[in-house]
């Protein structure tokens, strides 16, 4: 019998000794590749599911060219970094905090969700979940309430993406006793210290976000990617309408699409137009009118096709067409 090293009795320690090497060998190749080795980019791509995420991004999101370009660039950088590690080159983790600016309904939240998946696929986030918060979730109501509240949210978001919608409400310039500043401070500290664990995405309207960054220069400099979401064109909105209808298993025939374009054209010029969100609302209301039309028809009998089809009349009944523009209700 051999006495255990160190004296006293000890328990055999699983994972100590030989098996430990096996574990580390799985994680990353211990020996860097030779200087003249050649890596197959396609193979590295295939290893991560970056292509699948990018494809879904292309399929599900219409337009948004600058956004997609930037996401592609980030994905490429992460892939290159991954290959650099294989050669034993240093690959400092890039700063991944982002700000998404754009009008309402331009897909900021959806892209953030995809971003979380993408970063997870590339191995930069362990969980890849999205925690979506607003000022209410971060800022407390009395002294000493803010710090624990903000930390609680940050803890929940660890390993994933923290998405702060309408981030400019966090900081109220005109009220220096507002607790938002405290929240911003904690946020900055964590963004700096826990860069490996958390990606923060701030979102909001362009002009107000600019103001926010102007009054918080520290925040602006810690965000590497400022991505601006452009407004959609009528064509893109019509394509989005097609996607939304397909999602609900509805069909938009040719003449309905034509009416819909006309509708969007008019609706865009009205106040409170919210891009894709307005399209979604328009489809929802068309569904209501279609249902009413089908039910109220005398001697009702419907086919599957009728149940699926949104007719031009369903859109033509909208207030956007009937009311004069200046009196029209924004969501008519």
């Amino acid at each position: 019998m051999t006495a255990p090293a160190g004296g006293g009795f000890t328990m055999p320690r699983p994972g100590a000794g030989g098996s430990e090497q096996a574990v580390s060998a799985e994680d990353d190749p211990p020996v860097p590749l030779a200087d003249d080795a050649v890596l197959d980019v396609d193979e590295v791509r295939r290893e991560s599911d970056v292509d699948a995420v990018l494809e879904r991004l292309d399929a599900e999101l219409v337009g948004l060219v600058p956004v997609k370009t930037r996401i592609r660039e980030i994905a490429a950088l992460l892939l290159v970094d991954r290959m650099r590690t294989r050669f034993g080159l240093s690959s400092s983790r890039p700063a991944l905090h982002m700000s998404f600016t754009g009008s309402p309904g331009t897909g900021k939240t959806t892209v953030a969700l995809r971003m979380a998946e993408l970063l997870r696929g590339l191995g930069y986030l362990r969980r890849g979940h999205l925690v979506s918060v607003t000022r209410d979730d971060l800022v407390g109501q009395y002294i000493g309430h803010t710090a624990p509240k903000t930390k609680e949210v940050l803890k929940r978001a660890m390993g994933g993406v923290l998405f702060i919608d309408e981030a400019y409400y966090l900081y109220k310039e005109d009220n220096e006793r507002d607790y938002g500043a405290e929240s911003v401070e904690i946020l900055l500290q964590i963004m700096e210290n826990q860069r490996d664990d958390l990606v923060v995405i701030l979102a909001g309207y362009k002009d107000r976000m600019d103001d926010f960054f102007r009054s918080n220069p520290g925040m602006s400099s810690r965000i590497a990617h400022h991505i601006d979401f452009p407004d959609y064109t009528v064509e893109e909105l019509a394509a989005i309408a097609g996607l939304i209808a397909a999602e609900h298993e509805y069909v938009l025939p040719e003449d309905t699409v034509r009416v819909l374009r006309d509708y969007l054209d008019k609706r865009m010029r009205q106040p409170r137009f919210a891009n894709a969100r307005s399209v979604r609302n328009a489809i929802e209301r068309a569904r209501l009118r279609q249902a009413n039309r089908l039910v109220s028809e005398p001697g009702a009998s419907v086919t599957k096709q009728q149940l699926q089809t949104l007719e031009p009349a369903d859109f033509l009944a909208s207030r956007v067409f009937t009311d004069p523009p200046e009196e029209a209700d924004a969501e008519g």
């Binding site: 000890t10 328990m11 320690r13 362990r126 969980r127 979940h129 624990p148 930390k151 940050l154 803890k155 929940r156 978001a157 660890m158 390993g159 994933g160 826990q194 490996d196 664990d197 958390l198």
Partner: protein, 143 residues
Amino acid sequence: MRITQGAFSYLPDLTDDEIKAQIQYCIDNEWSVAIEFTDDPHPRNVYWEMWGLPMFDVADASGVMLEVDGCREAYPVHYVRVSAFDARLTRQTTALSFLVQRPPEEPGFQLDRQEGPDRTIRYTLRGYASERPEGQRYGRGDS
């Protein structure tokens, strides 16, 4: 004398990465993780103080580590442990509990023997550290 309480206490102290892996295991099992601290080393001391609330909705161990580090900073010479509660019906108990910090010097225990009638002996275990008031037991009394 190195006290042995909870899981892994016969092993060398866990490194932060190992602690993180253990916490992640708890989270993956849907146990809620809580952090507790005390400076009373007695093995029957069940009333440890809680550091914050149990964490029910933390998805990643680094969130818990943030709190562990916070607790270590505030109580640098206390015992700190992580315990995971399994709330599932039929179990509803602590599923795993292990020390993540111990004082640099642990003076150990005195064993008192009390002679009773008929040569009976009653034993009492008394930590040398707990002779001093709470908060001043392990050096650096400032904590």
